[in-house]
């Protein structure tokens, strides 16, 4: 077991190091942060002083080593713009993104999974075709467009929901739907195909031969076996949660990590962007780790390493 965790840990560190290095290189080679920060008409000595202050006058390699060393000790540096620790700025924003993401995911799972099960059970029927049509609609519709449409309809015409900001439960509704539609559609599709495969298995027939009622067969025999592909999709889509948040938070003026990233990139706030990318990457890696662990919980064959 120690070995298992050691390998997982080393892989996590390797992934994060690659992410850190990649962002560092891309950011330093894509334009001068000082010019972006101080404006094109700043005085040369002003620029020089700024460079020295932030260590930007050092060779790229030295900057990189300093940066990695900082990361390793858990220090992400200060924001170039408002001089506060990057980590504080990010963690102020995390709860907003997390709560929106969870709401969107809950909605996606509560709609997508039962819809997929129903479509599989009624394969080829009108219900199946209708659900699948909605699923395709769900992941084909760009979410910024859906968001704008909803604002137009519910905020401007009907005036029943707030168009931006946070505070009440009402604020959650439109951003969560916008963010969750894609995942709900994908989940419905994958749940359907996973269930179709499981329903054909001999053990499903054996369960029927034992006299297990249909509802129990679906919930206790089929669904846990179909869960592995479903969990995989949920894990993969966690990335969508962040990527989607960038758009959705901008559309609904939601004060989360996604919007912070957009601002930080446009302002060339190097330290902040790097910190954000690392936080997002860590979320992804953790999500993958949770998915791996869930596999073990779901399937004894994986658990025993057989």
């Amino acid at each position: 077991m120690t070995r298992f965790w050691l390998i997982k840990f080393l892989r996590t560190v390797l992934t994060l190091w690659l992410v850190v290095t990649f962002t560092f290189i891309v950011l330093r080679t894509s334009g001068d942060p000082v010019v972006a920060l101080l404006g094109g008409d700043a005085m040369p000595d002003e620029i020089e002083q700024f460079r020295q202050q932030w260590g930007l006058d050092q060779p790229l390699f030295v900057q990189y080593l300093q940066y990695v060393a900082q990361m390793a000790t858990g220090q992400f540096g200060d924001s170039l713009r408002d001089h506060r620790p990057v980590i504080d700025i990010i963690f102020e924003r995390v709860p907003a993104t997390l709560s929106l993401g969870l709401a969107a995911y809950l909605m996606a799972a509560l709609i997508g999974i039962p819809a997929g099960i129903l479509a599989a059970l009624r394969r080829g029927s009108f219900i199946d075709r209708a659900i699948m049509a909605f699923a395709v609609f769900g992941f084909a519709l760009p979410n910024f467009f859906l968001g704008i449409l909803m604002i137009l309809f519910f905020s401007l015409i009907l005036q029943v929901l707030p168009s931006s900001g946070t505070g009440t439960i009402w604020h959650f509704i439109m951003p969560a739907i916008t963010l969750g539609t894609f995942t709900a559609g994908t989940l419905a599709r994958f749940t359907r195909s996973a269930m179709l495969e499981v329903l054909e298995k001999p053990y499903m027939r054996a369960a029927a031969a034992k006299g297990v009622p249909a509802i129990k067969r679906i919930l206790f025999h089929a669904l846990p076996n179909a869960a592995i592909p479903i969990v995989t999709i949920i894990g993969l889509n966690l990335g969508q949660l962040i990527a989607g948040a960038i758009v959705v938070e901008t559309v609904f003026a939601w004060p989360g990590v996604g919007r912070l990233l957009v601002t930080a990139v446009s302002q060339r706030d190097l330290a902040l962007v790097q910190g954000l990318v690392l936080v997002i990457a860590t979320t992804m890696v953790l999500a993958n780790l949770i998915v791996d662990l869930t596999y073990g919980l779901l399937d004894p064959r994986i658990r025993k390493g057989a």
Binding site: M1, A206, A207, K210, V212, P300, R301, R303, K304
Partner: protein
Amino acid sequence: MTAPLLDIRNLFVPLPAGADRAYAVEDLSFSLAKGEILCIVGETGSGKSLTAMATMGLLPPNLPRASGQVSFEGTDLLTLPASTRRKMAGSRLAMIFQEPIAALNPIYTVGKQVSETFKLHTDLRPDAIKARVIDLFREVRLPNPEEIFNAYPHQLSGGQCQRVMIASALALDPSLLIADEPTTALDVTTQAQILKLMLDLREKHGTGILFITHDFGVVAEIADRVAVMRQGRLVEIGPAAEVLAHPKAEYTQKLLAAVPKLEPRHARSGLTETVLKASGVAKLFTSRTVLGTTREVRAVDNVDLTIRRGETVGLVGESGSGKSTLAQCVIRLVEPDQGDLVISGETFSGLQGAALRAARQRVQIVFQDPYTALDPRQTAGNAIAEGPIIHGLSRAKAKERALDLLEAVGLDRSAAARFPHEFSGGQRQRICIARALAVEPQLLIADESVSALDVSVQAQILDLLAEMQERLQFGLLFITHDLRVASRICDRIAVMRQGRIVEQEEPAELFAHPRENYTRELLAAVPGSGRLISPASRTGNAGS
């Protein structure tokens, strides 16, 4: 006479519109008495499994409703409401299946799965249920019942899983047990044990058993009466001894004639040139558990094997004996750890890259499952011509060779343009053989190549292999778990156990005087060996 336990009258199971015939089961009538074993025998598509499903109430929902009468203990099952019927399933009628490991849910312990039957149909408390399940496990002779209770299906062997299924089926002492090919996926020795167990249980509980099989050997072992089905219709029904000895229907006679018999032959004489010389072949599989400990399996353990031109060598053994791994080592689909391979005088082991690819022309393989061995998007003609083209034949010549080969394996030349799904299983296996022979190999490996086929088709494919060998004089390594098949076509049989060849002899000698205990066990376990063995073994026919 008392009323029969199960009485099926004029059963029709319709197929959906567009199928190749209107009914899967057509006007079927038979009955089964209490404590009787009735075998339903038939080939693929005979409707025997659907008859079982209709009785059990498990017909796939996409089929139209069955009509007729299925009376069980005086009640017509077909007219019962679904909920009443469900309550009878598992308690009064029970069923076991062909693939025992697949018939158990992989994510629950087997103890939990057998307990479920009690939970559904009784008010017993959990600890009482557990005690009953462990008693059942003991009754079906599972070793260490307490441990097996907490085991998952993947931790048990196929035979153990089938015992678990039987335990689950017998839990509430049903009066009817439906067994759908319950031993087909098992080794012969395991099959013999399971059949004996079923006979014992019938004796003890008086259970009526409806036993579906395609194997007349099994019928001879277990049946009181036999019903033969073909394309949904009942062809013949009668006492087992009578049907086996004096079949009335022409179809039954044909089926019985196609059953491979234990007819051990002598080796052909006049075999000279060696095409395969394998010496000291070894393959070790290591797997690492989560805990970091390694487990080693000697799949192939220092094996020597020679095959001469035009000779057929049989490799027999139970699953896990290493026969397939040995074959894969010989053709180097699996890289052997040790050993030398010489194929028609040239070294085959150790070759790399282009030299290996060129040498692959000398040895070809035909796999077990013709349904998955052909690329579904490649026409039969292209599948056959691909090999020769890779090995340097011009496109036009390769196409011509493909057409000739199709004809040689008994298909029409026009078949070249068709895709695999347009062929039956037997026809696909013919294409696979043509594909293997297209590059003119000196050695052909047939890995359980007839095991997935119906007996009548099996006989045809065996004849085809023999005929092609006669013409092309390749050496044939024939892997099978069926001693009856091996006895019929092999010049020499090698018995494998735990990665080693324990005995190697010409069939007539091997069957008459087996030296190893293990060989004797294998021979004794051949189903129907008491009745279906032909008394005099054939005399050897000299090879050309």
